[in-house]
Every structure is written in C-alpha cells, then in structure tokens.
C-alpha cells in the first residue's frame, strides 16, 4: 500500500470550510443540470411554447377569420400575449422550482435513503437544506428565463406582447425571490408528503396553483369575482405572476409592489425556515 492510506497524517491536511463544501455541492448540481440540459429544456419549454402557440397565434388567427372575437385585438386593451408573458414565466419558475427539489428528494428520502450520501458531507444538516433550496432556486430561475424567447416571439401578426421593463432591479428581485419561494415551498412539501402520494400533489396542488395563479389573467381583473380574488391570495403563484406583471408589463393593472414583495420575500424566509427544520428532522433520526 502507498502512503495514501495512512489516515491520521493525511486527514489532518483536509480541513474543508462549510463554504467550500457548500460550493462543491453546488458544483455537483451544476454538473447534473448540464448533463440533463436537453431533457430539462424540452420539459420546461414545451408547455408554455404550445400555450402561446395556441392562444397567441392559432386562436387570434382563427378568430380573425371566423368572427370568434375573444382573442382578437380589442383597441385599448392589452393583448392576451401581453397577459401571458409574466404569467407563463411565473408559472414556469414556480413549477420548475418545486419539481427540481421534490422529485430528487422523494428518491433520496425513501427506498435506498440515498440522502445519507450528502448528509455525511462535512456540513450541518440545515445547511444541506439551504443548499437544496439554492440549487432548486437556480433551476427555477433558468426555467423562467428559458420561457422568455417563446412567449416574446410566438404570436400572430398584431398580437405582439407589449413588454417594457420599468425597473431592472425590481425584475431581478422578483425573479430571484419567486425562484427561492418555489424552491423553499418544494422542499417543505417534499419533506411533508408521502412519496406514494406524489400523484395527489400534482392533482391537488400544482394544477390548481397554475390555473388559479393569475397566470392567464391579471389579479386586478378578478374584481368582478370578488370571492375568487380574495381566495387566490392564498396561492403563492399569484404573487410571482403579479410581481412579474408589475416589472414587465406595468401598463396592465397589477397588485401594488408592497403586497407582492412582502409575500415573495417574507414567504421565502418563512417557508425556508420551516423546510430547514422539517428536512433536518427527516434526515436525522
């Protein structure tokens, strides 16, 4: 045997800081993302792509010829594609952020309990939760950015979305906070839910979140259905959609900044704290 196996002498030389370990774990996540980029790209882009294709291209085209006026341009009102830009970006961020943490976590906490692998890295367990949130947040952000070209470019003539960024810092803040909110919520759900009930999660949580997340309509337009306008406030996706609406299409009526910012930032803090506690309890027995 070589000197490589003399443990006491060599072990003393390796003294990783928590930050070094954290960075190495993020490097692992980036490596995995790079490997899965094509499949992730297709998964992320396909739904919004088809959505804008049908609603911003096909339907206005049909409407123009057949007299179905619902998606045709009405003077003075925003086009449907303008409504969809912030909505579809927000829904992509929230969905990707949640799925990026829930699916691997289900595997890691059940069956072979492969979470042991990273739980043995020299990092406090709550920091492992933070790392998971950071990694899923990054994927959420990428998921949101990938949607932009599709929603900006696919539309029928005269149906172009009217997008102008009023405040770049606001846009960045909303994108980042929404990504972290989704990742924290995903981590909390992933530690709470029984892996066998993952189908239920989709049916009962993710689908209603999207349909009632002010993705396809602005929150202010719900004033005519007052009870719904109040009920959807429980849905975190509403704040991501409205935040992006304020940042990208400020001419469309949107929630005041203090409202969506306090939920996006405060909610992230709260969910991340709860997820860290729950995750630590699941990993340490």
């Amino acid at each position: 045997m070589s000197t490589e196996t003399v443990p006491a002498a060599t072990a003393a030389r390796l003294r990783p800081t928590v930050a070094q370990t954290f960075v190495a774990m993020m490097a692992r996540e980036v490596r995995v993302m790079r490997k899965n980029f094509v499949s992730t790209f297709i998964r992320v882009i396909l739904q919004p792509l088809l959505f804008v294709f049908v609603f911003a291209y096909v339907l206005p085209k049909i409407g123009a010829g057949s007299g179905v006026g619902m998606f045709a341009r009405v003077r003075g009102l925003p086009t449907f594609s303008t409504i969809l830009v912030p909505g579809l970006v927000a829904s992509s961020i929230i969905m990707q952020g949640m799925m990026a943490v829930i699916f691997p976590l289900m595997m890691e906490l059940s069956w072979q309990r492969s979470i042991t692998d990273r739980a043995l890295a020299p990092l406090p367990i709550p920091m492992l939760a933070v790392e998971k949130i950071a990694a899923a947040g990054l994927q959420a952000l990428i998921g949101g950015l990938l949607v932009f070209p599709a929603v900006l470019l696919i539309h029928a003539r005269g149906q172009a979305p009217e997008v102008h960024v009023a405040s770049w810092p606001m846009l960045v803040l909303v994108l980042v906070a929404s990504s972290l909110l989704a990742a924290s919520g995903g981590l909390l759900l992933g530690t709470l839910i029984d892996p066998q009930k993952i189908q239920v999660l989709f049916a009962l949580v993710l689908l209603p979140m999207t349909m009632l997340g002010c993705v396809y309509y602005p929150w202010s337009a719900l004033h005519s259905i007052r009870w719904l306008q109040i009920a959807v406030l429980a849905n975190p996706m509403v704040y991501a959609s409205e935040g992006l609406r304020a940042a990208l299409t400020p001419q469309v009526g949107h929630m005041p900044a203090w409202a969506f910012l306090s939920v996006l930032v405060g909610g992230t803090g709260l969910l991340a704290w709860a997820a860290m506690r729950k995750f630590t309890a699941r990993v340490l027995t």
Binding site: M1, A8, L14, P16, Q20, R31, D117, L120, P124
Partner: protein, 320 residues
C-alpha cells in the same frame, strides 16, 4: 506510522429509543465500546440487534437518546461536522449518487471534503485502480453489479482519507468470490493503518478479519474481546464425534457425568459429545468401546467456532 493518541471510537451507555406509532421502541439500550486506532473491529449481531442504529449514531445521522459517543475524541452530538470530516461510511443500502457516474461519485466526494478538482480526480483514479473498477469509471451506479457498487461505495468512503472507516454489512448479498476479494481489499487497507469498524452477521467474516469483536443483541453488548477470548468466554463447546462399527456401548452414557462435558447425543452407532474441556474424551470413547467389544471406525474433533459461541450468546430463535 504515528497513531493519534486516544481511542478511535468510544461509547458510554449509548442508547437509542425510537418513538413511533407503536410507542417507544428501544433499538440500542446502553452499549459501551472502545475501538483503538488501527484496529479492525467487528460488531456482530443478528438482524435487528441494533448494529445499524449504533453505526448511525457514530456517524452522526442518528441522534442518541442517552449516553455518549466519541469518534476521534469528538462528541458526535456536539461536533457532528468535525466528526464527519474524520469518518467514511459505506452503508448497507446503495446510496450512490445516481445522477453522477462512478468516477464523478468519487470526485465530488473529494471536493465535498475540500479537495481541489484536480486532487479529487487523481484520488478517484487511484481508488478505482486499487479496487479494480477502472473499466467502470464512466458507468452509472445503476449499471454496476452488486459487488461493484459495494466496492465503489467503499472507495467513496475512502476518498478523503478518513481516520475511521465504518462499513455496515459490507458483504451482505455478495457471492463468495466477490466476498473473498473484498476481504482481501479490506485487509490491505488495515495493513496500511486504516481503522475499520464493520458490522456483520457472517461469523466467518468476523473470524477472518477482525482483531476484536463485540456481540450485540437486543441493543446490548453480550460479549466482547478477541475472537479467541469470545469463544472461550461464551462457553462454546468442542464437538467430538465417534462412530462405532456396531451399536454404541451403553457405557458412553456415563460421560455425561464427566466434568466439562455439557451434552452427549447417541444415535445408533454414532456418539456426539459436546465438551468445554475435551481432553481425554476421545480416549474414553475408544476404551469404553473396547470394553464392550466394539471398535471405533471413525472419529472427529471440531474445535469451538465463533458461530457456536455466537449462537450460545444470542440463542437460536428466528429473527425478522
């Protein structure tokens, strides 16, 4: 080679009680262990004895409910990160990172422990060579055979040169060839000074590999010491078997009264004597036969095995 002072692993009345839907389930009920640096220590016990829970506590992932445990002089509850820096663990389950290839599993483990990417790459290649996995370096963990996955997990546990290596049932489910090869690799590690704590329920494994063992059952240490000490202290018997060329002489029944003999079984012409003190028993069986006019056609004397000691300690009822 210089070894650090103190013990590699020390536990004092270490206990773990799980609280579940069926109330409180004690898994470990106060065990004391002392493993020296450079030692190959075996934790023996039937399924459900508390071996994995004990390893879990020593590797900081199971929180003890009473007592204390130290690894390299560090308390596992108060300094979990420091403890994790000094240990490597290969668990029973396949916990390889399935998003990474075999070699990436090793490289990233090295980087988690502060190695530069280049150093981690060199170390990974060295371990793959040492454990005969070089041609599987690009494989996904799901594509590896059981033995390859086990070896890769041990490599991964070794990447950062841990002071103590924990192996939870490393050879469970492996075929005999793979098992023997793995034993050779582990022996090589120990000769290089690696402290190893292994759990097993294979007596042969413990007998061949371990400097010292502790037998645990129902969450308690029943006996500990070297394999030889254990065989003696557990009252394991030597078994003397004699076959006569006719019916066994009636006189052999008198052996039951002989000091040091625990049991005599007679079936037709065959007599089996279980004796803690076997000297003279075979001679007496021959002379008793001669007196009765029958001769011994076959005779065998089996020394006590760790297995018989183990069964004496833990009983024979089925587990899980």
């Amino acid at each position: 080679m210089t070894r650090p002072a103190g013990l590699a692993v020390r536990t004092e009345t270490l206990a773990k009680t799980y609280t579940g839907p069926r109330g409180e389930v004690p898994a470990v009920r106060g065990i004391d262990l002392a493993v020296r640096h450079g030692e190959f220590f075996g934790l023996l016990g039937p399924n459900g004895a508390g071996k994995s829970t004990t390893i879990g506590m020593l590797t900081t992932l199971v929180v003890p409910t009473a007592g204390r445990a130290e690894v390299c002089g560090l308390d596992v509850v108060r300094h979990p990160v420091e403890v994790k820096r000094r240990i490597g663990m290969a668990s029973q389950n396949n916990t390889l990172d399935s998003d990474l290839t075999a070699v990436e599993n090793l490289e990233f483990r090295g980087r988690y422990f502060g190695m530069t990417a280049a150093a981690a790459r060199r170390r990974a290649q060295q371990l793959l060579d040492q454990f005969g996995l070089t041609d599987r370096r690009g494989a996904n963990p799901f594509e590896l055979s059981g033995g390859q996955a086990k070896r890769l997990m041990i490599c991964r546990a070794l990447v950062h040169h841990p002071e103590v290596l924990f192996l939870d049932e490393p050879t469970a489910g492996l075929d005999p060839q793979t098992r023997v090869n793995l034993w050779d690799l582990l022996r090589e590690l120990q000769q290089g000074g690696q402290t190893i704590l292994l759990t097993t329920h294979y007596m042969e494994e413990a007998e061949r590999m371990c400097d010292r063992v502790a037998v645990i059952d129902h969450g308690k240490v029943l006996a500990s010491g070297t394999v030889a000490e254990l065989k003696n202290s557990a009252g394991a018997d030597t078994v003397i078997t004699v076959t006569y060329d006719g019916a066994a002489p009636a006189g052999v029944g008198a052996l039951r009264a002989r000091p040091g003999v625990s049991k005599v079984e007679i079936t037709g012409g065959q007599v089996r004597v279980f004796a803690r003190e076997p000297r003279g028993v075979l001679g007496e069986l021959v002379s008793t036969g001669a007196t009765a006019g029958v001769t011994v056609s076959d005779a065998a004397q089996l020394p006590p095995s760790l297995e018989s000691a183990f069964l004496n300690l833990t009983g024979r009822e089925y587990r899980e």
